[in-house]
Every structure is written in C-alpha cells, then in structure tokens.
C-alpha cells in the first residue's frame, strides 16, 4: 500500500517534471533569441511566463471544444 502510494507520487512528480521540460523547450525557442549572457532578461522572463500560460489556455480551449 505504502509502496504503491510512493510509486504513484513519484510518478506524478516525474510527469510534472517532464511537462516542465517540454514547455521550457518550446518557450525557450520562442522567447530567447540571442545568447548574450547567462541571465534571463525581463523581456525573456515575461515572455516565458506568458508563453506557458497561453499554451495552457490553448490546451484548455481545445479540450473544452
């Protein structure tokens, strides 16, 4: 029982992390053009955040159609 709960918890943690990697991959391509230094500019950080949230909005609209 505890083992099953542990596996399920780990597995959903992994699903979230794998989604985060895939969103980062997509929004990094969209929001980061030049690599001038290792920090995120304000523009890039806002773009990443908007990119994630509009992607999730798009997903929700399509599921609810």
């Amino acid at each position: 029982q505890e083992v099953a709960a542990f596996i399920q918890q780990e597995s959903s943690k992994m699903k979230i992390q794998s989604s985060v990697t895939s969103f980062t991959d997509k929004c990094f391509k969209k929001c980061v053009s030049a690599i001038d230094n290792g920090n995120l500019s304000n523009y890039e950080a806002n773009c990443m955040n908007d990119c994630l949230n509009r992607f999730l909005d798009t997903n929700i609209k399509i599921v609810e159609m």
Partner: protein, 67 residues
Amino acid sequence: SIATEMATAYATSLVNSLTENCFDKCILQPSSSLTSVEENCINDCASKFMRSWNLISKSYIARINNP
C-alpha cells in the same frame, strides 16, 4: 480496460498535436491573456485541423485497401 487505456493514449496524442499546431499558428507573440483574435484563430484552427484529420483518415484507409 486495455481498450480504454489505448483510446486515452490516442486521444492525448491528438490533443497534443492540436494544441502544438494551433498554438504555433495563432499565438505569435504571447501576451498576458488570450486576445479575441487569438481565441477565434484557435477555434478556426482546431476546426481546420479536425477536417484535415478526417480527410487524411479517409484517404489513408482508401489507400490501404487499394494499394
């Protein structure tokens, strides 16, 4: 059941493909909320995509049956 699991996996990949394609076509510059232009575009895009899916499905099955 196995059939349900397979159908779920399939539906997930269709929804993912729809979301990717319509996000790429409609959200060129993501802003702080979906604009009405973007919302209409997503609706039209999803409808165009599903019509394309049905057309491809018919053509593909026709070709499998008459190679």
